[in-house]
């Protein structure tokens, strides 16, 4: 959990993003046909260097599907996984024994991108529904599949917020499927303008 003591607007943020994470994990479970449990949901306000290391050592090579989010709360949405967890996800989807998929061919990448689309949309559907006021649609762009250093990936995503702030907001959710250690993380990085908008719509006077 976040080290910072939560103020009312951060608590409210937590509640709303928890709904997103919950909806995403339910969609993930239906999509995989396996129970996907929500491990952690964190709303972090951290410095630049900390933000880039938020998913572990920056040089860690990960597979990721990156989506731009359009609408009144824009930003970047990243589904991040280690190669093996990603390929296991493909095996689960294709109803094959774990370990069958060994490399990222076109079909495997397509399965990963569609998973990101489904999980990402479920997340955004809940945010659009629960954010106070009529925020309108939150629509992801088509996911891009990448092998990337996790630090570089976060740097790309955080760039927009960093223009105007040295304290960055990122929202992390970790999922785990079956009894095996198959973990995937969903990271939402709002744009700089969205961070301002979030603090406005979640200000304490709107509580209740």
């Amino acid at each position: 959990m976040s080290e910072h003591s939560p103020d009312p607007s951060t608590q409210r943020l937590h509640l709303i993003f928890d709904r997103g994470a919950e909806n995403a994990s339910q969609a993930f479970s239906r999509w995989l046909g396996h129970n996907v449990s929500l491990q952690i949901g964190e709303v972090d306000r951290v410095g630049l260097a900390e933000a880039v290391d938020a998913m572990g050592p920056g040089e860690t090579l990960v597979a990721a599907c990156a989506m731009e989010v359009f609408g009144p709360l824009d930003g970047q949405l990243l589904l991040i996984f280690e190669d093996q967890a990603g390929l296991s996800l493909v095996d689960l989807l294709m109803r094959m024994p774990l370990g069958t998929s060994r490399s990222w061919g076109e079909l495997e990448q397509s399965a990963a991108r569609e998973t990101a689309n489904i999980v990402g949309c479920a997340y955004l559907n809940a945010l659009a529904h629960h954010l106070p006021g009529a925020v309108g649609s939150l629509v992801p762009g088509p996911p891009l599949f990448r092998h990337e250093f996790v630090g570089s990936l976060l740097e790309f995503a955080l760039q927009d917020q960093a223009v105007n702030s040295d304290e960055l907001l990122l929202i992390r959710t970790r999922f785990r499927a079956t009894s095996d250690l198959l973990e995937w993380s969903l990271v939402f990085v709002p744009s700089g303008a969205s961070v301002v908008k979030l603090s406005q719509i979640l200000s304490p006077r709107d509580l209740g």
């Binding site: 999509w31 076109e106 079909l107 569609e114 489904i118 990402g120 559907n125 309108g136 762009g141």
Partner: protein, 143 residues
Amino acid sequence: MLPSSERRRELNRLLIVDDAMFIRRMIADVASEAGWDIAGEAGDGLEAIASYDDLQPDLVTMDLVMPNLGGLEALRSIRARDPQARVIVISALDQRAALLDSISAGAADFVVKPFERDRLLAMFRKLLVQDQPLSQAPEAHGG
């Protein structure tokens, strides 16, 4: 071939539009089981419009979030060219605005991903039966 069966085959041709090959394969699998003939597939809205013109399918499944041209724009364009076009939107975007926009653009139905296979199968079966003129329903012909 009998004229009636010719006519019937013409009414079960499906165009699947989705940027994910994986989903196209899933939908094709379910639709084939329901009796649909997969006339073609398209990976974005531009391909969808071109394929619709080429293939003149009886039914289209349309994803919304796609590169180059999104499904909503493709749906509008297809309906503008052919007001009789039957298009089912299949999208993970379960938001009021997406639903209303799709319906006002002329979508015949809206299916949320991840879909349940059996429900999709039932929908494709129902649509196939609806498509057949009463005099040429599947059981009615046979020479």
